[in-house]
C-alpha cells in the first residue's frame, strides 16, 4: 500500500481502545496485539472491563478498554499512559483521558458525541472544552456513519452493520502504526466460517478504516515500530490464567498423575477453570462445584484418591475455602489453591487487580495452619510457578497457595514455548508397593514428608481426617504432647520447603543504597521503573519475591546489604508488615497504591527518586 505521509521510526507505543462494553474493544485490541506480536514486536496488553456484562449504554460504568503496548525493545508492562486513545463515545473519553500522554493522540467517533451521549457521560457541553487537551492531537472521525456507508449495500441489518465499527477504528490505528491487516482477516475467516457475509463486512470495514486514515491527512506522519531483539525460538501469546492452567497440566504430565480441578466460577479466576475444562484431550477432569467450599472439598477428595488436585479462586472464594485448606493441612495431602487476587474486601472490585490477599493466604485459617505461599510475577511465568506449586505440593505433601492477580490473569505477552525437558522432575512420594506395616504418618526424617497411599492399593487401607492425628500412626489423638509435637512438625515441614526454592536475586546495582522490594505481579512495572531511573544516572536495585512462605534462604542476607529498603505493593503494606515480622532487624519503607489498578511507572519513579533523596 502506498503511503504519502512521512514515516517516523519509534521505539515503543501504547494504544488504548475504549468504548461501550458492547463496542468490541477487547476484540479490536486483541487483534492489534496479536498482529504486533506476529510482526515481531515485544508486546504486553491489559484489558480493563466492567463487572457488568452490559452496563447501561453510554455510561462511564459501561466503558470497556484494552491497552496494547508494543515495542522494538523489551516491553515489561502494558504502559501507564497511552500514545493513542480510541474513544468510541463520550463516556470512553471521560473514563480514559487521564491516561493519555500530554503529546498523545485521541481518535474519537464523532457520530457518538451527540447531546444525549455527552450528557450520559456527565459532560455539560463540548467534552473537548471541558477536558484539558492542550498538546494532544484530537482527531474527529465519523466512524459510525462511515461504517454504515461502507456496508450500505452489503445486505446486513443496521445493528449488525454498526457492530463492525470496531474494525473501522482498528483500520485507522493499523495504518497509523504500519500494521499488516492479514492476521485480522484470517481471524474473520475462522471466526465467521459459516457466515461469509460477516467475513466480507468486517474485512471491508477494516480496509475502509485503513484507507480513511491514509486519505484524510489528519495525521502528519505514520509510525514504524521495528521488530524487537528477542531470543530465538517458537513463540505464542499467552495470558496468566491460561499459563496457570498449562503449568498445572505440564506438572501432571511430568508427574504422571491425573489432573483434577474442583472449582467454582469467580472473576478473575474463571479463565483457569475454562481452560482446563477444554482439555479433556489431555484427560483433565474438571468438576464445576456448587460452591467454593465444594470446589476445594472435591479437590481434597480427588487428592486422597491419588489425583494431582487443584482448586482455583479469587479473594472471596479463598475466604470460603479456609476451613478446607486446614483439612488439607491436617491430612497432609497435596493440593494447589490458586488465588487470582482482585480488589477487596467483600465483593470489592471483581474485575480490578490488587495484592491484598497476602495475609489471608498466609494466615486466614483457624489454628496453626501453615501452607506454602508463592506468587507469579508475569503473565507467562504463571506457567513456571504453577508448575512449581504442583511440584512442591506433591513432593512435600502439603497445600500450596499460588497467588496471581487480575493484572497477570488477563494480561498477555509473547511467550517463548519452553521445553518440558528443562523442567525439574516431580517425584511422587508414593508408598513402595511391598512396604510392610506401613504407617500413614511415618515421615522422611529429612523432609518430614509422609507417604501417599492411594485407595485401591492392597494392604494400605487407612483413615485420614480433620481431627488431630497421632504422629506416625495417624490415628485420632487428644494427647496434649502429641498436639504440640504435630503443630511443630507441620510448621517445620513447610519451612523445609525453603531448601527446594531458588535464592532471591538482585536486578540492577548491587552497590546501590536503595533496594526496591516487590512481590508477585508488580515485577513488570518495578523493573521498568528501575531501568528508567538507572538510565537517568541513579544507582538502584530491585528484588522480586516469588516465594513468600517460606522465604528464600538468602533473604536476610540480601536485605542486610542495602541501607534503604522500599517495599512496593498494591495494598496497604501487607508484605512490608510480613517482612517486619520475619526480619524485624531492618527498617522498611513502603510505597503503596490501592486503586484497583497496576502501578504506573511514573508513580514508581517518583517514589524511587524520593526515597533515593531522603
Amino acid at each position: 500500500m502506498s503511503k504519502q505521509a512521512k514515516v517516523i521510526e519509534i521505539e515503543e507505543v501504547a494504544i488504548r481502545f475504549s468504548g461501550d462494553s458492547g463496542d468490541g474493544m477487547q476484540l479490536a485490541g486483541t487483534l492489534f496485539s496479536d498482529t504486533s506480536a506476529l510482526y515481531g514486536n515485544d508486546v504486553s496488553t491489559f484489558p480493563d472491563y466492567p463487572a457488568e456484562v452490559r452496563a447501561p449504554q453510554g455510561t462511564i460504568g459501561g466503558v470497556s478498554g484494552f491497552q496494547v503496548h508494543f515495542g522494538h525493545t523489551q516491553i515489561n508492562t502494558p504502559g501507564d499512559y497511552c500514545d493513542v486513545l480510541v474513544a468510541m463515545n463520550p463516556a470512553a473519553l471521560k473514563a480514559n483521558i487521564r491516561w493519555v500522554k500530554p503529546d498523545g493522540i485521541i481518535i474519537y467517533d464523532a457520530d457518538q458525541f451527540d447531546a444525549k451521549n455527552i450528557e450520559k457521560a456527565g459532560y455539560k457541553g463540548d467534552p473537548f472544552l471541558e477536558e484539558d487537551v492542550t498538546g494532544i492531537q484530537v482527531i474527529s472521525a465519523p466512524i459510525s456513519n462511515l461504517t454504515k456507508e461502507s456496508l450500505k449495500d452489503i445486505g446486513l441489518d443496521q445493528k449488525s452493520i454498526l457492530r463492525c465499527k470496531n474494525m473501522f477504528a482498528l483500520g485507522i490505528v493499523s495504518w497509523l502504526y504500519d500494521r499488516p491487516l492479514e492476521h485480522a482477516v484470517s481471524f474473520f475467516n475462522k471466526k465467521f466460517a459459516t457466515k461469509p457475509l460477516l467475513v466480507e463486512a468486517n474485512t471491508k470495514v477494516l480496509y475502509d478504516g485503513y484507507y480513511y486514515a491514509e486519505t484524510i491527512e489528519a495525521f502528519t506522519s505514520n509510525f514504524k515500530v521495528k521488530p524487537a531483539e528477542i531470543e530465538k525460538g517458537t513463540y505464542r501469546s499467552i495470558n496468566g490464567n491460561a499459563a496457570v492452567a498449562w503449568g498445572m497440566m505440564a506438572a501432571a504430565e511430568k508427574a504422571d498423575l491425573q489432573l483434577f480441578c474442583g472449582s467454582y466460577p469467580i472473576t478473575p479466576a474463571t479463565g483457569i477453570l475454562e481452560e482446563l475444562a477444554a482439555r479433556k484431550d489431555l484427560r483433565v477432569k474438571t468438576f464445576q462445584a456448587e460452591d467454593e467450599i465444594a470446589g476445594i472439598c472435591t479437590a481434597i477428595g480427588a487428592s486422597f484418591a491419588g489425583s494431582l488436585a487443584v482448586t482455583t479462586t479469587s479473594g472471596p472464594g479463598l475466604a470460603l475455602k479456609g476451613e478446607a485448606i486446614g483439612l488439607a493441612v491436617m491430612t497432609e495431602l497435596p493440593l494447589v489453591i490458586v488465588d487470582v487476587q482482585r480488589g477487596g474486601p467483600s465483593t470489592g472490585l471483581p474485575t480490578k487487580t490488587e495484592q491484598s490477599d497476602l495475609m489471608q493466604a498466609l494466615y486466614g485459617r483457624n489454628g496453626e495452619s501453615p501452607v506454602v505461599v508463592m506468587a507469579a510475577s508475569t503473565p507467562s511465568n504463571c506457567f513456571d510457578y504453577a508448575y512449581m506449586a504442583c511440584k512442591i505440593a506433591i513432593e512435600h505433601m502439603t497445600p500450596v497457595i499460588l497467588l496471581t492477580d487480575g493484572f497477570l490473569a488477563n494480561g498477555t505477552e509473547p511467550w517463548r514455548i519452553p521445553d518440558l525437558n528443562d523442567f525439574p522432575d516431580i517425584k511422587v512420594p508414593r508408598v513402595a508397593p511391598d512396604t510392610q506395616n506401613w504407617q500413614p504418618y511415618a515421615r522422611d526424617p529429612e523432609t518430614l514428608v509422609r507417604t501417599w497411599a492411594i485407595p485401591g492399593t492392597h494392604g494400605m487401607e487407612h483413615r485420614l481426617g480433620s481431627l488431630e492425628k497421632m504422629n506416625i500412626t495417624g490415628t485420632v489423638s487428644y494427647v496434649p504432647e502429641n498436639h504440640e509435637l504435630m503443630s511443630h512438625i507441620r510448621e517445620n515441614k513447610v519451612q523445609k520447603v525453603a531448601r527446594d526454592i531458588p535464592p532471591l536475586e538482585i536486578v540492577g546495582d548491587e552497590d546501590a543504597d536503595l533496594l526496591i522490594i516487590g512481590w508477585g505481579g508488580t515485577y513488570g512495572h518495578l523493573v521498568t521503573a528501575l531501568i528508567e531511573v538507572r538510565r537517568e544516572g541513579h544507582k538502584v536495585a530491585l528484588t522480586q519475591f516469588n516465594y513468600i512462605y517460606p522465604l528464600p534462604t538468602n533473604t536476610r542476607e540480601i536485605l542486610g546489604r542495602f541501607k534503604k529498603l522500599l517495599v512496593c505493593e498494591i495494598n496497604l503494606g501487607q508484605f512490608a508488615n510480613y517482612l517486619r515480622m520475619q526480619h524485624p532487624e531492618y527498617p522498611y519503607r513502603k510505597f503503596n497504591k490501592i486503586m484497583g489498578l497496576p502501578f504506573t511507572v511514573k508513580d514508581l519513579k517518583e517514589a524511587i527518586l524520593r526515597n533515593l533523596e531522603d
Binding site: W246, L282, A289, A294, F304, E323, R416, P455, R463, L467
Partner: protein, 336 residues
C-alpha cells in the same frame, strides 16, 4: 476371590458411640452388607463429615476419610470422580447432611454420582449435646428451643426426590436385617443412593421414633414396601394403601368391599416421582411410615461414568495428546 466375612471389614479401633446408640446397629448392618457387595477392602472408601455418625469410617477396615462439617458429599464426589472404580460410601447425619451440608446434598443427588449415602437421622444434634436439627419435629423442646421449635422439618425423601434423585430408601436402626437388605439394594444402584436410617439417640432424643418402633405397635404403624408387591401392612396384614382422589388412603381389607386387588402395587422403578414422593412423605399417625426401597429408578448413566466417556471421546478425536502438542497448537510464530 476369597469370600470375606463381616469381621474382615471391622477395624481395630474401639467403637466410641454411647451404649444403646442406634449407630452400633447400623455399623453391624453395614459390616454384614459389605462382604456381599463384592468389592475388595482396598476398593472401598467411607467418607464422612462431622457429628456422631461421622466417626463411622474409623470403625471399618477400608479406606476412610473423616472430613469437615457438612462436606462429606463434596469430598466423596471428588474421590469417586477421580477414581470411578472405587466403591464410595458417605456417612452423614441430619445436621451434617441437611443443615450445613444441605447444598452439597442436593447437588450430589442432582449429579447422580455413583455413591451410596447413609443418612443417620436422629432428629437432633448429638455431638454438640442436644440442639434441634433440620429434621426435628415442629415443637421439639431442645437446648436451643426451650419453648419448642417453630421450624418446619425437612423430609429427606422429599428433598431427594425433589432434587431428581434416582434412589431413596428408608430403614430403622432397630431392624438390622432389613437395613442390610436395603443397603445391598443401595449398593447395586448405579447412581446416587440415599438411605435414610431412623436412628435413636439414647441420650438427647430417646424414643423420638418410639411410636413407630415400639414392638407392640410397629407393624401397624410402618409399611415395608417391596417392588411388585401390593401395599399391605398391619400386625394381621389386614391394612393397605390405595389411591383415591389424588390422595393416599389407609384402608382395611374386607371393609366396604375392599380386597387386595384394589390396593396400590409398589413400583420402585417407575420414573414417575409423584407416587414416590407421597410414599416417602407418609408420616404416623395419618399414615404408616414407609420402609424399604421407595424409589430405585433406572439411572441413565452416572456422572462419573459420563465424565470418563466424554474424556475418551474427546481424547480420541483430538490431535492434542501432550502438553507439547498443546503449546504448539493454534497460532505460534518463529523468531530466528
Amino acid at each position: 476371590m476369597q469370600q470375606l466375612k463381616p469381621e474382615d471389614f471391622k477395624s481395630d479401633q474401639m467403637v466410641r458411640w454411647c451404649a444403646g446408640c442406634g449407630d452400633h446397629a447400623i455399623l453391624s448392618s453395614v459390616l454384614k452388607a459389605l462382604p456381599q457387595i463384592g468389592y475388595k477392602h482396598e476398593d472401598v472408601v467411607f467418607v464422612s463429615g462431622i457429628g456422631c455418625s461421622s466417626r463411622f469410617p474409623y470403625y471399618v477396615n477400608t479406606y476412610g476419610f473423616h472430613g469437615i462439617h457438612g462436606r462429606a458429599m463434596a469430598v466423596a464426589s471428588g474421590v469417586k470422580t477421580s477414581n470411578p472404580n472405587l466403591c464410595v460410601w458417605i456417612i452423614t447425619g441430619d445436621g451434617d447432611g441437611l443443615a450445613i451440608g444441605g447444598n452439597h446434598f442436593i447437588h450430589l443427588v442432582r449429579r447422580d454420582i455413583d455413591v451410596n449415602l447413609i443418612l443417620f437421622n436422629n432428629r437432633i444434634y448429638g455431638l454438640t449435646k442436644g440442639q434441634y436439627s433440620p429434621t426435628s419435629k415442629q415443637g421439639s423442646v431442645t437446648k436451643t428451643s426451650p419453648y419448642g421449635t417453630i421450624e418446619q422439618p425437612f423430609k429427606p425423601g422429599g428433598i431427594t426426590i425433589g432434587a431428581n434423585g434416582t434412589f431413596f430408601a428408608r430403614t430403622i436402626d432397630s431392624t438390622p436385617k432389613i437395613s442390610t437388605e436395603i443397603l445391598l439394594e443401595a449398593a447395586k444402584h448405579k447412581g446416587t443412593s440415599i438411605t435414610e436410617v431412623l436412628q435413636n439417640c439414647v441420650i438427647y432424643n430417646d424414643q423420638t421414633f418410639g411410636d413407630i418402633t415400639d414392638r407392640d405397635n410397629r407393624d401397624d404403624r410402618i409399611i415395608m414396601l417391596k417392588h411388585g408387591e401390593p401395599m399391605i401392612f398391619g400386625k394381621n396384614q389386614d391394612k393397605g394403601l390405595l389411591m383415591k382422589d389424588n390422595e393416599l388412603h389407609v384402608v382395611h381389607l374386607g371393609e366396604n368391599g375392599i380386597s387386595e386387588k384394589d390396593l396400590l402395587v409398589h413400583d420402585a422403578h417407575t420414573e414417575f416421582a409423584g407416587i414416590h414422593l407421597l410414599l416417602a412423605n407418609m408420616d404416623y399417625p395419618k399414615y404408616p411410615v414407609a420402609l424399604g426401597v421407595i424409589r430405585a429408578c433406572e439411572a441413565p448413566k452416572s456422572y462419573d461414568v459420563k465424565m470418563e466417556e466424554q474424556i475418551e471421546v474427546i481424547h480420541e478425536k483430538s490431535k492434542i495428546h501432550t502438553i507439547h502438542d498443546l503449546m504448539y497448537s493454534g497460532s505460534t510464530w518463529e523468531v530466528k
